[in-house]
C-alpha cells in the first residue's frame, strides 16, 4: 500500500514538475517574444522609414532632373557642357551654376549637384555655400560615373572630405542628353535624415542599417559598409531574420519586407547584444521560478523535518513509557497542534495506567488488611483475653505454672495477630515469633531446639507483621522429623547491603528435592487464586512483594546437609518513616 502511494506521489511530483517547467518555458517564451517585439519594433520602423526616405529621394530625383530638360535653355547649357571640348566660358559657367543651383533647390536634401565628365573638368555646386567650383581629382564619385552604365544609377556613401570632416552622402546620377563623351549629372544627397533614423534607436548600440542596390551598398549607418557577401550565413533564420558571421562576430540581420531583387534594406544587430537585450526578462522569470521552486521545496523539506522531529519526540516518549516507565510524560511544545493533542492523549493514557497499577497494588494490600480486620472483627478480642486470663489464673492455683505460661503466650500471640499496625519493629516481630515457637516447642517436648543469630543493628528497623509465622508453620508441618530428638530451626538475620536486610531460616529436617524446591519457588510467585492458598509461603511472598516491591520476597534453597534454607529479603526501613 505504501509503495503504491509512494509511486503515486512520485508520479504527481514528476507531472507537477513537468507542468511547472512547461509553464515557465511558455512564460519565458512569451516574455522573450514580447521583449523582442518591443525592442525590434522600433528598429523595424526605422528600417521602413529609411526605405521610405530612400524611395522618396529616388522618387524625387526625377523631379529634380526632368524639369531641367524641359527648359530649353537649361538643356542647351547642359548640352554645351557635355559636348564641349574646351573649358567653359564664364557665361557658360554661370549658366551651369544656375542650372545646378536650380536643381539643388528643388530638393532641400541635395547637398551638391555635380556635372561630371569623364574627360574634362567637372563642376560641382554646393547648395549650402552656394559655391560653384571645379571638381578635384579626389572627388569620390568620379570613379563611379566613369563606370556608369545605366540611365540612373545610385551610388552609395562615400567619404568626402569637406575641409574638416568626412561627409557621407548618397549620390544619384542621371543620364545626360548626349552620352557621347560620357559623364553624368550627380546629385549628392544629405543622408542626415537617414542617419537620424538609423542612429535614433536608443536601445541597440551595435545596430547597423544598410541598403544596397544591385549589389552596391548605397547607404550604411556604420563608418564602413558591411560586406554582406563575404558574410557566412548560418542556417538558422525565420521570416525576415538571418544569422550571419562577419569578422568573427555573429550578427542578426533583419530584412525589410519591401525588399526586392535590386534594392535591399536591412539592419544588423550584434547577436550578443540582441540576446542580452531580449533575454533579460525571460532569464529573470526563469530565475524567479527557480528560486520560488527551490524555496517551495525547502519549505516542504523543512516542514517535513519539523513534523518528523515532533514525531520523533512522540516516538521516544512512547518507547520510554513502553519500557514500563509509566511516570514519563511528554512535555514538548509542539508546533503542530495535532501532535499536542496526541501527546496529551498519550500522557493521559500513561497517567491512567500508572494510576490503575497503583490502585491494584493498594487494593491488594487493603484486601489483606481488610481480611485481617475482618478476622479481628469476627470476635471480640477482650472477651478472648479475659477468658484466657481466667484459665491462666486457674492453672497457677492448680500448681501448673507451665500451662499458665503457655496460655499467657497464646494471649500475647493473639494480641499480635489482631494488632493495629502492619509494620512493626523487627524486635517485636521476633518476640512474637519466639512466643509462637514456644507453643510448638511445648508440643514437641524437647525434641526441637530454636537458635537465633540476629545482628544487633537490624533490630531497630521494621518488618511487616507475621513475617516469620508462615515459615515456622511450614517447618513444623513439612520440615520437622518427629523421629529425631535433635531437630533444630535457626533464624539468622543480618544486613545484606546498604539497602537490604536478609533473614535465613535454616533447619535440619526432612528437606526437599532440588526439583521440588524449584517448583515451590516458582509456585510462590504465582498469584493467589483461591481461599485455600491464602496462607502459607505464597501469601508471605506476595505480601513481601506487595509491600517492598519487585525482587523482595522469599526463596527456598536446599540445606547444606539436610533440611532447607529459606531466604527472606526485605528493605531497610525504620518504623518512624513508614507511617500508615
Amino acid at each position: 500500500m505504501r509503495k503504491y502511494r509512494n509511486s503515486i506521489i512520485k508520479k504527481s511530483i514528476l507531472v507537477y514538475s513537468v507542468i511547472v517547467m512547461f509553464i515557465s518555458l511558455l512564460a519565458m517564451f512569451f516574455s522573450y517574444s514580447s521583449e523582442k517585439n518591443v525592442l525590434l519594433s522600433d528598429l523595424n520602423l526605422r528600417l521602413v522609414q529609411i526605405e521610405t526616405e530612400y524611395e522618396d529621394i529616388i522618387g524625387n530625383f526625377w523631379n529634380i532632373y526632368m524639369p531641367v530638360y524641359e527648359n530649353t535653355e537649361n538643356e542647351m547649357t547642359l548640352r554645351n557642357y557635355f559636348n564641349s571640348k574646351e573649358e567653359l566660358s564664364p557665361v557658360e559657367k554661370i549658366n551651369l551654376k544656375r542650372l545646378l543651383h536650380y536643381m539643388a533647390a528643388r530638393d532641400r536634401r541635395v547637398q551638391w549637384v555635380a556635372a561630371i565628365r569623364n574627360d574634362v573638368v567637372s563642376y560641382i555646386y554646393y547648395s549650402d555655400k552656394d559655391s560653384f567650383s571645379e571638381i578635384l581629382d579626389g572627388f569620390p564619385f568620379i570613379g563611379d560615373v566613369k563606370n556608369k552604365q545605366n540611365q540612373m544609377e545610385i551610388y552609395g556613401l562615400h567619404k568626402e572630405n569637406d575641409g574638416d570632416e568626412d561627409v557621407k552622402c548618397l549620390a544619384i546620377a542621371g543620364g545626360v542628353p548626349d552620352l557621347s563623351n560620357g559623364g553624368a549629372i550627380i546629385a549628392g544627397y544629405n543622408t542626415g535624415r537617414l542617419n537620424s533614423f538609423s542612429k535614433g534607436n536608443k536601445e541597440f548600440e551595435s545596430v547597423i542599417f544598410e541598403g544596397s542596390r544591385s549589389g552596391r551598398v548605397i547607404y550604411h549607418s556604420s563608418s564602413e559598409p558591411v560586406d554582406i557577401n563575404s558574410a557566412f550565413f548560418l542556417p538558422f533564420g525565420r521570416e525576415g531574420s538571418r544569422l550571419l558571421l562577419i569578422n568573427h562576430h555573429l550578427y542578426m540581420m533583419r530584412f525589410s519586407e519591401n525588399n526586392n531583387d535590386t534594392t535591399k534594406f536591412f539592419y544588423l544587430i550584434k547577436l550578443s547584444e540582441y540576446i542580452v537585450k531580449t533575454i533579460k526578462l525571460p532569464i529573470l522569470i526563469l530565475i524567479a521560478i527557480i528560486i520560488i521552486g527551490i524555496a517551495a521545496w525547502n519549505l516542504y523539506l523543512r516542514n517535513m523535518d519539523l513534523v518528523m522531529d515532533e514525531v520523533g519526540v512522540i516516538q521516544d516518549s512512547l518507547k520510554k513509557i513502553g519500557h514500563n516507565n509509566l511516570e514519563h510524560r511528554i512535555n514538548y511544545d509542539f508546533n503542530h497542534s495535532e501532535f499536542s493533542i496526541i501527546a496529551a492523549s498519550i500522557n493521559k493514557m500513561a497517567e491512567k495506567l500508572d494510576e490503575n497499577i497503583n490502585r491494584a497494588r493498594i487494593y491488594e494490600q487493603k484486601q489483606k488488611e481488610a481480611e485481617m480486620k475482618e478476622l479481628s472483627a469476627k470476635f471480640n478480642p477482650h472477651f478472648l483475653y479475659n477468658t484466657l486470663e481466667i484459665f491462666r489464673a486457674r492453672c497457677y492455683e492448680n500448681d501448673d505454672p507451665e500451662t499458665a505460661e503457655l496460655i499467657g503466650t497464646t494471649a500475647s500471640i493473639f494480641r499480635g495477630f489482631i494488632g493495629a499496625k502492619t509494620f512493626i519493629p523487627i524486635n517485636e516481630e521476633l518476640a512474637s515469633t519466639r512466643r509462637y515457637l514456644s507453643l510448638f516447642k511445648a508440643r514437641y517436648e524437647g525434641r526441637v531446639s530454636v537458635y537465633y543469630d540476629i545482628k544487633s543493628e537490624i533490630l531497630s528497623y521494621g518488618i511487616i507483621r507475621n513475617a516469620f509465622q508462615p515459615l515456622i508453620e511450614n517447618y513444623f508441618e513439612h520440615g520437622i522429623d518427629p523421629e529425631k530428638d535433635d531437630n533444630y530451626i535457626r533464624i539468622k538475620g543480618s544486613v545484606k547491603d546498604e539497602e537490604n536486610i536478609e533473614f535465613l531460616i535454616e533447619d535440619n529436617g526432612i528437606g526437599m528435592g532440588i526439583k521440588e524446591i524449584a517448583e515451590l519457588n516458582s509456585r510462590i510467585t504465582e498469584p493467589i487464586n483461591n481461599e485455600k492458598e491464602s496462607y502459607g509461603l505464597k501469601n508471605l511472598n506476595q505480601r513481601l512483594n506487595l509491600f517492598y516491591g519487585d525482587g523482595y520476597g522469599i526463596r527456598i534453597f536446599p540445606g547444606e546437609k539436610k533440611g532447607v534454607i529459606i531466604s527472606m529479603l526485605i528493605k531497610k526501613q525504620s518504623c518512624e518513616t513508614t507511617d500508615e
Binding site: E389, R392, A393, Y396, D399, D400, P401, E405, G408, T409, S412, R415, P425, N427, E428, L430, A431, R434, R435, S438, S449, V450, Y451, Y452, D453, I454, S456, L459, I491, G493
Partner: protein
Amino acid sequence: MYKVMLVDDESAVLDILKNRINWQELGVDSLLYAPDGQTALKKMAEQKIDIVISDIQMPGMNGLDLSGQIKKLYPDTRILLLTAYGEFEYARKAIQLGVENYLLKPVVKEEIEQNIRNTLDNLYRKRLKDPELLKENVLRRWILGTISGEELADRAGVLGINMYMPSYAVLCFSGRNKEIPTGIISEGLKKEFAGDDIFTLWDEKGKYTAIVAGQNIDKEILKDKAEKLIKDNGLENNIIIAIGAVVNDAENIHISYRIASDLIEMNDSCKAGAILTQITVNGDMESELIMEEVRTFFFIGDDEIIKNGIERLAIKFYKNQERGKALYNFMKCCSRVIIQEFEESEKPQVEAYFTEGIPDESISDSMSLENYISKIKEVFDFENSIFKKCFDSLSPIVRLTMQTIHSSVLEGKGISIKEFCSRNGMNPAYLGHIFKKETGYFFNDYLMNSRIRRSVILLRNPSRKIKDIAEQVGFSSTSYFVKCFRAVKGVSPVQYRIDNSENGR
C-alpha cells in the same frame, strides 16, 4: 518495716495486691492506697513511703508527673509504674525518670510480685539508684531467672539488649581484696569482647557479674579472653573469674549464672588471678551431701550429735584412698556452708585458716585413724567457731527462725511465717523485714532453699519416690517441689538423680 503505696483510680490492681501477695514475708507492714496523685503526695508528707506503685493514666496528675514529684521530694522512694497496653511509649519515657520498672495492665500477679520482690531487694541491700536502675533491675532478674519471657522480651527491646544472639554466657568476678576494680574490668571487657555485647551488674551476693552475648563464644575462647583480661590489666592479685556455661537461648542465662556463681562459691579459697570453669556438667553430689550434714551440725547445736556425726564422717573419709584430699574437701565444704548462709563480708574470716597452712596431704595419708579423726574434728571446730561468730551476730529472733526452719525441714514439717510468728508472739511483717535485712534472704526463699538442699540428700536413695521426697521436705505439692528444684538446681529432680548416679560415688 517498709511501707508500700498503690496509686490508681481503678481497684483491680488493689485487689491483687491486697489478696494475692504475702507482704509480711516480705517485711512490709502496710499497704496504703491513694486514688490520685495529689492524695498520694499528701499521704507521703505524713509518713515515709518506701515503694510507690502508680498507674500512669489518672485524673488530675498523671503517673509520670507524680514520679517526677516524688523524685524531687522523696528521692529514696522507689517507683513502679503501671501502663495499659498501647501506652508503652509513655512507659518507656519512665526509664528516664529513674523508676524501677513499668508493668503492663492488666497486671499479672507473678510479674508484679517479682518486681516488688526485686524492688524490696534493692531497698534491703541499699542499692544506689543509678541512672541505669531499670536496666540493672532487668539484668539482675534476668540472671536470676526471676523475670518472665514476656517482660524480658519487651524490656530488652527498650533497653537495646539483643535477645537473639547465638550464644550467651555469664562471667562472675570475685575480689580477693575488698575492692573490685570495676572500672578497669569493665573497660577491659569492652576491649576483649569488642565484637560482642557486654552487660555488667552487681549480683545479690556482691559479685561483679558480666553477661556476654555474641557470635563466637565457647568455653575455650572465654577462658583465653579472661586470661588476657587479667594479664593486660595487671589484675593477677585482685580477682578471680568464674565462667558459666555457654547457652544458646537468652532465656536460659540463669543456668550460666548459677554455674558461675557456684564456681565462685566452691573455689572460694583459690588464689587470685585464677580462671574457673566448670569441669563436670553437674554438681558434685558428694560434696553437697557433706555440706548438708555440716549445715545440720552447725544449726543443731547439740554437741553429742555433732561429735558422733563428725566421727562417722571421718571414718568414711578414712576408708577412701585420698584422705588428704578428703580433708581438704571437707574444709572447703564447711566454708561453703558458711558462705552460703552469711554475707560476703564474712569471707576474710574463712580465709584466715588457710594462711596458717594447709595440712600436708602426704602427712594426712599416713595418719592413723585416731589422728585423722581428731584432725577432722579440729577442722570442724575451727569452722564451727567461725560459724558461731557469724551466727551470733544475728539478732536472737533471726537465729531462732533459722533454727526452726532447719528443724522443720529435717522433720518434714510444714512451716509458715504466720504460724511461726503467732506461736512466738511476733509481728510477721517485722520478722520478715528483719530476717531479710540480716540474712539477705526472704523468709520463704530461705525456707525453700533449705528444703531443696535437704531433698538432694534424700534423692541419693534411688528407690525413694519424688512425691515422697517432696512431702518429706515439706512441700505442699510435688509439682511445686519440681518447679522449685529446677529453679535452684537447673534440672528436674529426676534428671539430677540420673546425672549423679552416672558420676558414680
